[in-house]
Every structure is written in C-alpha cells, then in structure tokens.
Symmetry: C2
Subunit: 361 residues, 2 copies
C-alpha cells in the first residue's frame, strides 16, 4: 500500500492508495465513532455499496445509508439537506463519522455536510472517480453550487483519511478516465517536469488503467497536490497554480453549457491554450507547447477549443471592459514544471483566442 | 472604551464595548475589504440601520444591504440563502466583509453565511440584544436550525471583531433585558463568585440599564466567556459549563413551545433548578440556592418552573428508558463560582422535578 501524508493547519491525515482498499474501510473509522453514515449515489452504490457496507459493518458500529441523486445538477442545497435529514432522523451525534463514497460531487457535498453537521463531525473520503482520487478528495475544499455560481457555498474542511481503491476505476467510463488524467498531467506541468515526462512515457499504460502505472500516477498527483495545499490551505497564494488551464476550461464549460464537455476535458484543452499563452508572454518554447498538446491528445482529451468567438470567450473569462483595459491574471508556465501567477496583456490573450477560431488540422 | 481580547485557535479578535460604537463601525472594517454587506432585519434596521450604514459608508467602500425577516422561526436555510443570494447578486468577492447587525439570530446566521460564502469571508459582529452582547456574539458558534433540531447546522467561525454599543439596549423590550441578564449571572455562578456578588449588589442598576453598570456587566461576561472559549473552542470539554441551567431551560422551551418563554427566561429558571440539583448531589448550600433564586427573580426572570409533569420533563430532557437506568450528565455548582460536569442519579433529578409540580408560594 502507498501512503501520502497531508499536513495542513486544518488537519493532518493519510491518503491510502491500493487495490482492494474498499474492503478495509473499517480500519479508517476512529475507535470512538458512535455511528457511521455512508453517503453515496445509486450509480456508485450499485457497484460498490455492498462491499463498502460490509467493510464498515466490521467495525461493529451502527451503519446508516444515505442515498443522494447522481449528478452535478444535484450538487445543491436541497441535496445537502437530504444528508442532514438522514443524519438527524437517525439521531447521529457529534461523534458519528460520515463516509463519502463516490466522485467529486459526493465528496464535495459529503465533506461540506460533515463540516456543518453539529458544527463539524469527522468524515472519510472514498473517491471513486479518477478526478476525485487525484484532485477533489485531497486538500479539504468542500461545497455546493448556487444558481449564481459553482462551488460558491462551502468550507475548508479536512477528512480524517482518504481511501483510494484503484480497482474501482475499472467501471469508470473512458471519458471520465481521460478527464481525470488531464488533472494528473496538470501537476506535472505546474510543478514536476520529471513526472510530466513519466506520463508521456506511460500514457498508454495510464489510459489502459494498468495497475502499477495508475497507482503511481495517483500517488504522485496526491503528493504534489498535498505539497501545494500544505503551503497554502486556504488559497491565498500558491494554491492558485492548481488552476492552470482552468480559466480557459471554465469558459469552455459554461460557454458550451455545463456537462457538454467534462470538467477535465475542458481543463485539458484549457491547458493547451494556457501553454500557448505562456509561449507568447512567458518564454515557453514552441516545442514544449507541442508536448502539452500531444500529451493532452494522447490521454483522450480534446485539444481544439470550441469556436465560441473571441468576444464571447472574453466575456466568459470575465474580461469586462474595465479589466480588459487593464490586465488579467493567469497561471502560466515559463517552462514545463514551473508555474507563475501573472497578469498578461489583453493583446496576448486575444491572440490565443483568435487561434481558437482558426480552422485547425 | 473597554476592550476584551478573545484568543482561540480559530482566530484572535477584539470585543469593543462602549456607548456610541455604532458610529465608529467603519474602524473595524479591514483596509483591504473590497465591499461590505450589512445584514440585518427590519426591526433593528429601522432603529439603527441608518447610523450603521453611515458609519460603514465612511470607509468609502461599496455597501450592500441584506434584509432578513425577523424571528427565530426564520433562522433556517431559506433565510440563509437570502444572504447568499444578496452576496452573489451584488458580486461580492472573497475579500468582502459581512456585518451582522442584530440579535443572536442575525449573528448566528450572518456568521454561518460568512463561514460558507466562497468557503469563508470575514465578518463583524454587531450584537444589539443583551443576550447577543454577552453570549452569542462571543466564541464563534454560528448556525441555523433544522426542522429536527435547533442549531444543528453550523460552523465554528470567529469574527474579525465584535462591536458592542451599549446605547442600543435602550430600545430593547424589558423581557429581553431580563433574558440577557440571566446569561450574565450564569457566568458568575459557574466561574466567578465575586462577579455574582457584584450582580447582586447592582441588580437595580442593571435592570435600569445604568450605563456604567451594564457596561461592566457586559465586559466581565465577555471576559469570562472568552476565557472559557479560549480553553476549548470546539466544545470538547470545559465549554460545556456554559450550559449551566440549559438542560432544564431547553426542556422548558420545548415543553411550552418555543417562543412562549424567552431562552434566557427559561435558562434563568433552569439555573434555579440546577442549583437545587447541585444542593442534592454536590453540596451546594441551601443559602446559596436561595441566593440563586433571589437574584434570578430580581433580574425579572421566572423562578417557578412550569408544571410539565415529571414524566414529560424527563422525556424532554431526553432521559429515555436507557439513560434513566444509568445516569445523566449535568453541569452542577458545588458552590457559587465553581462548575463541574457530572452524572447524577436519576433519583436526585426526580426530586428536583417533583418540586416543579408542587404549588409554590
Ligand atoms: N473539492 C475540490 O478540490 C474539487 C476539485 C476538483 C473538482 N471538484 C468537484 O468535483 C466534481 C466532479 O467530480 P467527478 O468528476 O468525480 O464527477 P461525479 O462525482 O459527478 O462523477 C462522475 C460520474 O461517475 C460516476 N461514478 C463515480 N465513480 C464511479 C465508478 N467507480 N464507476 C462508474 N461510475 C462512477 C458518478 O456517479 C457520476 O455519474 C465537481 O462538482 C467539481 O466541482 C472539487
Ligand atoms: N452562537 C452562540 O453561541 C449563541 C449563544 C446563545 C444564543 N444563541 C442564539 O441566539 C438567538 C437568540 O438571540 P436573541 O435573544 O438576541 O434573539 P433575537 O436575535 O431574535 O432578538 C430578539 C428580538 O429583539 C429584536 N432586537 C434586536 N436588537 C434590538 C434592539 N436594540 N432594540 C429593540 N429590539 C431589538 C430582534 O429583532 C428580535 O425581534 C437564538 O437563535 C440562539 O440559538 C447563540
Ligand atoms: Zn479541475
Ligand atoms: Zn443560553
């Protein structure tokens, strides 16, 4: 088993990564827990609910199951309240433990519910998508969406542990795998050139979910994210580099309508655009841009941005008249493995966006 | 001006107590705040909204007003969402500051909204009831009610400062003053015998809201609560003593229906019952019990518990068959100024409750 330790002011906890962890979940439940609430959705529960339940039942503690509807569209207050209803109807107390079994949506909602129930109960992250395993389950960001904005309501709240069973990826749709791999290569791009090169070499093994390769990729991703988060738990500085490719990515997601492209797909494409921008403003070599494009394509993400029109792009990136006159801040990579957070001239941004409108081969 | 400094792991901040603080609110807004959201209700806003707004406007920062309906019945998710709506519609960012102007209901909801908006923005407590000034605004407990329980959803979240203007108490209904004074004498009972004696001597001045007396009482209450909270921010130990009288008090509130007696009134009466229990189990002298009863009556709180019937009392105190066979934990005072958290024999509790059913002169 591989263990990554996360150290933040808000808490210190292990991430366990291995095949078969699902059958050992009970080991991560603190001895003094009075009860366990297993929070999941029908998709994940049908696949892994029974194994998780059996493993948790081994603790001998009372186990309550709370089922939420599946999908980003339900990451809202109404669904969050279903968790509170379940916890209260079953009279769970402050010493209960919440287990979030699912992708990032379940993890974000489960974590936020845990942070708020009786002003905070312990929770265990059991991420079952690649994106959740390498990104959303690590670092303590939790929350829900509001009609006026994604992830607007939430808390920084660390779990007692993260349990990653690499086997569960076998049932994940291919697009979800590609989307998760986009965040994996993001870590290489912003902070670890050697890891990026390793991903290039092992891209076929990664896409095939080869056990050894995917385990290492998850472990290294968690280590790198944990490092960044330990430096800046509450996103006042360094943590911003984790948003590499995300300004473009978010514009794609909302420009096409959420759900059209997966978040990771949009980020993949957005990283290519951010690399192009880095070439114009920060000295990234043309060869490096090409490596970013090639690996993004190889993991199965789109690399050609949708043609939204430059004006719409700028609007979606919230470059309004005012900031456009000034400058906009982006995460850029002067070279692969190094990130900076800098303002760029609107002109440079326009050149990248005009590119998006060109027919590409 | 009197200042009490609160030190907790979650933050360190001043409580300013003085006549006229309302006109100086701008001084507590951090320089780097991008905007201010003033959260209040129609009752309080009609009385003090303009003065608060003018003081905040002096910062030159954008000021947004968010009005919530008045009353404990609205301390719920729907109302909380009105705050999020207002913050998002006005595009307030992570560097905005929320100002909660009102009693404990506004403070609890404003604080919880601040803790969750974009995973945490800064907030300023401006408590306008005596109860909020001596209790709810200090210590960082925030939250809302759930249909299945009061204060079930929330966060520990400390403000950047607490601004207490003693003048605003002038418009407070007399019953609210009495209810606040109950929490004041509670601090004396659990932790400071000298302060309890001081309250006995100055009870008329306190009821009349004499400026010097009430300022000192607020200051001392804040100091004592700050001390307890600094030892135990998240209520894992010592903080429990703040619940002296509250097990009985909560039973009264829910037994009569919330709102029938004010919380502080129920706590006042509950402290008399807790003193009686302390006499039976923990050696509190009969003379001390009498002092508790006399002062509680003198501040204007009821001292005769409602006749709910012993069985209903036990049910309301959640003494079910199981715990009744065992023992129930209470905050008790072996003498005035000292609290312990101990289990008591069901028999002793029954004796106190049977008392409640007796006709009293
Ligand atoms: N907290 C953070 O730091 C952070 C970081 C990145 C993303 N996020 C959030 O994560 C969410 C996206 O997470 P996601 O990509 O995991 O989406 P998701 O949770 O919606 O999961 C995607 C789909 O896969 C299904 N699924 C999950 N595990 C499966 C498995 N093993 N086999 C088959 N199907 C499975 C889910 O039921 C769902 O239908 C977004 O809401 C985003 O805001 C949070
Ligand atoms: N967070 C904590 O640690 C803590 C501690 C104790 C109580 N509480 C909470 O506090 C709440 C009770 O607070 P409360 O007693 O202040 O009730 P409240 O906020 O409902 O205020 C009582 C009434 O007085 C009005 N009011 C406020 N200031 C006024 C003024 N200066 N003049 C005239 N009217 C005024 C209010 O609008 C309201 O109608 C409860 O919800 C309770 O759960 C929290
Ligand atoms: Zn992402
Ligand atoms: Zn109280």
């Amino acid at each position: 088993m591989n263990t990554v330790q996360v150290e933040t002011p808000g808490g210190s906890y292990p991430i366990h990564i291995a095949s078969g962890r699902l059958d050992l979940l009970g080991q991560s439940i603190p001895d003094d827990a009075t009860a366990i609430a297993l929070v999941s959705n029908p998709t994940v529960y049908a696949l892994y609910g029974q194994r998780a339940s059996q493993a948790l039942a081994k603790t001998g503690k009372r186990l309550v199951h709370i089922e939420l509807p599946d999908g980003e569209a339900y990451k809202n207050w109404e669904t969050l309240n279903l968790i509170f209803d379940g916890l209260l109807q079953n009279r769970l107390d402050r010493k209960a433990v919440l287990v979030a079994l699912g992708g990032g949506v379940i993890g974000d909602m489960g974590g936020y519910a845990a942070s708020s129930y009786m002003r905070g109960i312990r929770f265990l992250q059991v991420p079952t998508t690649l994106l959740a395993q390498v990104d959303s389950s690590v670092g303590g960001k939790t929350g829900i969406n509001h009609p006026l904005g994604k992830n607007m309501i939430g808390a920084f709240y660390q779990p007692v542990a993260v349990e990653i069973d690499t086997d569960v990826l076998a049932t994940l749709p291919g697009r979800e795998v590609a989307a998760g791999l986009a965040e994996v290569i993001k870590y290489g791009l912003i902070i670890d050139a050697k890891f990026f090169a390793w991903c290039e070499e092992h891209v076929d093994a990664l896409r095939a979910l080869d056990s050894q390769a995917i385990t290492y990729a998850i472990q290294r991703s968690c280590e790198l994210k944990a490092y960044v988060v330990s430096q800046d738990e509450r996103e006042s500085g360094l943590r911003a580099i984790l948003n590499f490719g995300h300004t473009f990515g978010h514009a794609i997601e909302s420009g096409l309508g959420y759900g059209e492209w997966l978040h990771g797909e949009a980020v993949g494409c957005g990283m290519v655009q951010a690399a192009e921008l880095s070439a114009i403003t920060s000295g990234l070599s043309a060869e490096s841009v090409q490596r970013v494009r090639a690996l993004t394509a190889a993991i199965g993400c789109p690399v050609r941005p949708p043609d939204l029109g430059t004006d719409r792009w700028l609007e979606l990136m919230q470059v309004d008249k005012k900031t456009e006159g000034g400058r906009l801040r982006f995460v850029l990579i002067p070279e692969i493995g190094q990130a900076v957070f800098e303002s760029v001239p609107a002109e440079a941004l326009r050149r990248v966006l005009d590119n998006a409108a060109l027919p590409q081969e």
